[in-house]
Subunit: 208 residues, 4 copies
């Protein structure tokens, strides 16, 4: 969502706050029913009870709108303390999978990622509103595991960042691939097997 200058209080009629909410909700509803490619902004506007003009005043196009609509779904991601690193990872994997099981996320997320391969601004927008939140969980999880003594503290910051990136790509990539490409369920059993593989790999890598 684009913030307007300092905002403060400008002259003229202020923008309806309800409109934003209604538009994003309508976008998700349309994604569920129609999917990304058949979603039209005119239809979203109608569903939201809003004129097309109003929608275009706030978002510059379909991609931006869908990123914002999908990003809100990821707000629920958090890192509950389940007592052990393995349990924490499994929990996050299942949370992530639960979001990907929702049709508005499945269709919307991959589509904007596809678009982002040719639009750097869009990629940055996705990174900010979706990817960074996930990455934060990886960092938080590691910190918590270190405080528990499950993982040794970092020595080389660069190496630490590289490892976090790797873990992040592996976790997010594997879950997305399982859910969307292989189209197999990401259930507790799979999460356990995956976590075992990941932690085993981390331990082995760390000892090198």
């Amino acid at each position: 969502m684009q913030s307007r200058s300092p905002a403060a209080s400008r002259p003229g009629r202020p923008r309806s706050a309800a409109a934003d909410t209604a538009i994003l909700a309508a976008t998700r509803a349309a994604l569920v029913e129609l999917g990304w490619s058949k979603l039209t902004l005119g239809d979203v506007a109608t569903r939201a009870g809003v004129a097309k003009t109003t929608l275009y005043r706030r978002w510059s196009g379909k991609n931006e709108l869908v990123v914002d609509a999908v990003a809100e779904l990821f707000d629920e991601l958090e890192l509950p303390d389940r007592g052990s690193l393995a349990a924490d990872i499994e929990g996050v994997v299942l949370q992530f999978a639960a979001i990907l099981a929702r049709p508005e996320a499945r269709s919307g997320l991959m589509a904007v990622v596809a678009e982002s391969t040719r639009d750097d601004a869009l990629r940055e927008r996705i990174r900010e509103s979706i990817v960074e939140r996930q990455k934060g969980l990886v960092l938080a999880g590691r910190a918590r595991a270190q405080s528990r003594g499950e993982l040794p503290p970092e020595t080389d910051p660069a190496e630490a960042a590289r490892t976090a990136d790797l873990i992040f790509d592996v976790v997010a990539g594997a879950v997305v691939h399982r859910a969307l490409v292989s189209a197999e369920p990401v259930d507790a059993e799979w999460a356990q097997g995956f976590t075992q593989l990941l932690l085993g790999g981390l331990a082995a890598s760390a000892s090198t």
Copy 2:
């Protein structure tokens, strides 16, 4: 590409084989220049020197066409014998990354995956022409490692299949995520770190 009834020689003028080739090549060229969302079938037809009707006679829409066009890119995937399991994995990862580095693959692949979340026939088509080929490499790699003695032979077939699926999702997912979402290079260094993680995890998992 749809195979027509076996019908050796049916009546009427046969379809031009050259047209198929030209259309797929034109599709890839258009993907490079325009990306998936701005690619139009009319433009593809023009580039291929073919009428729009000819294109529609062979493919039912943009998605089907792009799947076939992108699938051909994956024909070059193979499993060269590099002497060790680690080297084999690194090789495949780099091959896969090389394909994903091509703009026609980046834009096209994710877009059809996104579409496939709402179209089972499309998903099946993607699975047949793209995914299965990759999965075959996982199986072949494991078999070769076993023949080298790097991995123990399978005991439980179901467990073996489950593991292969997991490895496949991890490898393909991680590479795709690194390349397209994180937008970081998949180079030899990354491949090495990833392979280390994966093999470590496999060893740890196997010993359980």
Copy 3:
């Protein structure tokens, strides 16, 4: 229909005579069902059980085909001897009206006339195969009336031709206009009133 050179007996398989008949009949059937603008040559070929190639070998296009198909309808026009000039005229008017009442004539005739306003070859073709036959009836009718003594013999040939043309335009024009534009029935009553007007006018003009 285009005649091929001297014909005689050329090499190769001779053209099927049945095809011509079938095609023209199919054309009229299609005119009845679809009208001129929705008639397609592919459909005509299918109805006639003939390949499009065969059709195009004989006619150069829709206009030419329809002219020939409609022209056959006018073959039934003749000048029965009803005993008096007035009765003869009424008879011809009703015969002409009967043809115009058939949907294949209504739709086809006016359409080719419209096309002929921009295509001299087509206009000539219409004149030859349709209009001249009608004009002949005017001339024959006058000759018979003169032989009966109802009309005086011609003195000035140029004047005679001019009068015949005028009568022809008035008769054909009025009947067509009544039937197709005004869309009112051309019945015995109307024919009688029209004939009265025409003969009265002729008598008055002759005495000038």
Copy 4:
């Protein structure tokens, strides 16, 4: 042209009045250059500097558009007082012929008449916007002749209507047939001969 509900000022952007004018003018220009059958709505839109959708919002198809475009040509028909019934008739005949001499009228008029043989709504539209205007001239001409004393006043209204219809079909039919089918000029000489025939016939009929 379709009138929209009386709705003084409906919400939303009002339709551009200039667009209607431009479209009809472009239609006539295209008729002159291309004729009815080669006229395309896309081309008309381009000539008018208007989008195809704008055109389709106002007219439902080629026929309706051409009727309106041609109808405007007949706006210039009027009944100038030339002092006598014969002169009035000759004047109208020549005016009518002048319109039919214009290529946009020749090609367009007959084509829509042909189409109207299978489309009652179209026929009604033609009647309203073209034919009735001509018929009015017949009625006005008769009234004027009666006020001059050239024709006796009506006694039987039904008979009067029947006669007016007959005259109308004869005049319009003969002129159209002469101009478009016979493709001979409708000049002063022909108009005089035709008028003589018509008035003579009327006189003879009236005395019965």
